[in-house]
């Protein structure tokens, strides 16, 4: 059982900044995210797109924003359960919560902060009849451990950045990489497209376009896929089939947690602390709604900060605290590091 002070569901910008703000109050955080990496939409959907409305950053790439938020909260040693979706929540007699993921990992915390954005990202699955039979038996919708593919034959399908990037990456790991796409054109970053072109010419990636995987075969695990190209259909032997058709966010199991939902979002008390109708459960960032709500990263940062102050009172009932400025108090990391402003130099002028 993983124990923490604030269990944050969603490792996007709002969740990551909450780790920092909680750390200032000496509260430890653990984050759960359905994606295999932190950053939420910023890292999954548009890592290379610039954002222009982060205060003090005239322009910052979404991927860089994620990196900086990770760097900023690092000293507070957040724990991560990645690639798993928070499925159930049980309130204990003492008012604390146990949250269990789809993989059975249990987390115990007095406060839960849902920072789930538009929901957990679920893979868009191609329409292949027996696809579900081979899930985790050679069919994977996201690549979590590249080593799994070492020395294996891998077929990747899709036309976006993840299909391109993983084909490039696995060309050095797998025995054979085949990339299949419905069109000749790819939607990815220009560098990636050129790199795949290069690897294709060097014989390190098989590129099959315009084509589609329409069937899977194998006894208990993937052994081959059926490919339709123009009018002909043929089989290709492989150990893994990885369809990468993008992800679409779904509120998912959180919708059944007894929280008040409005417009696909969780209603919160915005006059106070972004708490939901269940005391001890907060919702911050894009996942919440209240009169005047704006789905902006900068609003998520604000909401995360107020949430932490309120959570402090739940975790430390009656314990006094006043807001301190980092410029004055510095930042004491849980890892033993300390950041502080240099002391002013006082010197006499003769």
């Amino acid at each position: 059982m993983i124990k923490t002070d604030i269990l944050i569901i969603g490792a996007g910008p709002t969740g990551l900044f909450a780790v920092f703000e909680a750390g200032l109050l000496k509260l430890k955080c653990h984050l759960i995210d359905a994606l295999p990496q932190p950053g939420g939409q910023c890292s999954e959907l548009y890592p290379k797109k610039p954002i222009y409305d982060i205060p003090a950053y005239p322009e910052i790439l979404a991927g860089d924003l994620t990196d900086k938020l990770m760097e900023q909260c690092k000293q507070f040693e957040p724990g991560f359960t990645l690639g798993e979706r928070a499925d159930t929540i049980e309130k204990q007699d003492d008012g604390t919560f146990i949250v269990t993921t789809n993989k059975g990992t249990k987390h115990h915390a007095p406060v839960v902060a849902i920072a789930g954005g538009l929901g957990s990202f679920e893979p868009r699955k191609p329409l292949i009849d027996n696809l579900a039979d081979y899930e985790d038996k050679g069919v994977e919708y996201m690549i979590k451990e590249p080593e799994l593919y070492r020395g294996k034959k891998v077929v990747i399908a899709g036309g976006g950045d993840s299909a391109l990037d993983w084909s490039i990456f696995l060309s050095d790991v797998a025995e054979e990489v085949t990339l299949i796409h419905r069109r000749n054109e790819f939607r990815g970053h220009l560098d990636s497209v050129e790199k795949v072109q290069e690897l294709k010419s060097a014989g390190k990636i098989n590129l099959i376009t315009p084509a589609e995987v329409i069937g899977i075969e194998g006894d208990g695990k993937v052994e081959a896929v059926t490919i339709k190209q123009d009018a002909k259909t043929y089989k290709k032997e492989c150990d893994h089939f990885v369809p990468l058709f993008g992800l679409s966010p779904k509120l998912g199991p959180i919708a059944n947690w007894g929280l008040e939902i409005e417009k696909n979002a969780i209603k919160v008390n915005n006059a106070l602390d972004y708490q939901t109708n269940i005391p001890g459960i907060y919702a911050i960032g894009d996942v919440n709604t209240y009169p005047g709500k704006l789905k902006l990263i900068l609003c998520g940062f604000h909401e995360a900060t107020l949430m932490c102050q309120s959570a402090y009172q739940i975790i430390n009932p009656g314990k006094r605290y006043v807001l301190k400025y980092t410029t004055v108090a510095g930042v004491d990391g849980f890892d033993g590091t300390r950041k502080e402003a240099p002391k002013a130099v006082v010197k006499k002028i003769e």
Binding site: L45, Y46, R187, G246, N264, T289
Partner: protein
């Protein structure tokens, strides 16, 4: 007002809405749908308007001349579901005076 255009939007339940959209606020068709709340939040414009999710797919019913489809829109539609010949992504259609009289229908949620 002079800079407004009239657009007819059929929502996902088949209800037709006649709406007025401003041309001076740099809005696109997806945003017009959202501003009139013609589709539930979280089911349209999920990617924010980057032609990356197809949640704003619509079918163009009138013969209004529309801005030409760019590569990213075409590529996204090639990976989307329920695509027809008259499919477009609402987020890629800027509201301009030329759109007066446009009629569209929202594609099913997928």
């Amino acid at each position: 007002m002079e800079q407004d255009v009239n657009i007819k939007i059929t929502d996902r339940d088949g209800v037709v809405h006649e709406v007025v959209a401003p041309t001076d606020m740099a809005m696109n068709l997806m945003e017009v749908v959202r501003s009139y709340e013609l589709a539930p939040e979280g089911t349209i414009g999920i990617c924010g308007g980057m032609a990356m999710c197809a949640s704003c797919q619509c079918y163009v019913l009138s013969d209004t001349e529309l801005p030409e489809m760019q590569d990213d829109e075409e590529a996204m539609l090639s990976e989307a579901f329920y695509v027809k010949d008259n499919s477009r992504l609402g987020c890629q259609i800027q509201i301009t005076p030329e759109l007066e009289g446009l009629e569209v229908e929202l594609a099913p949620e997928s």
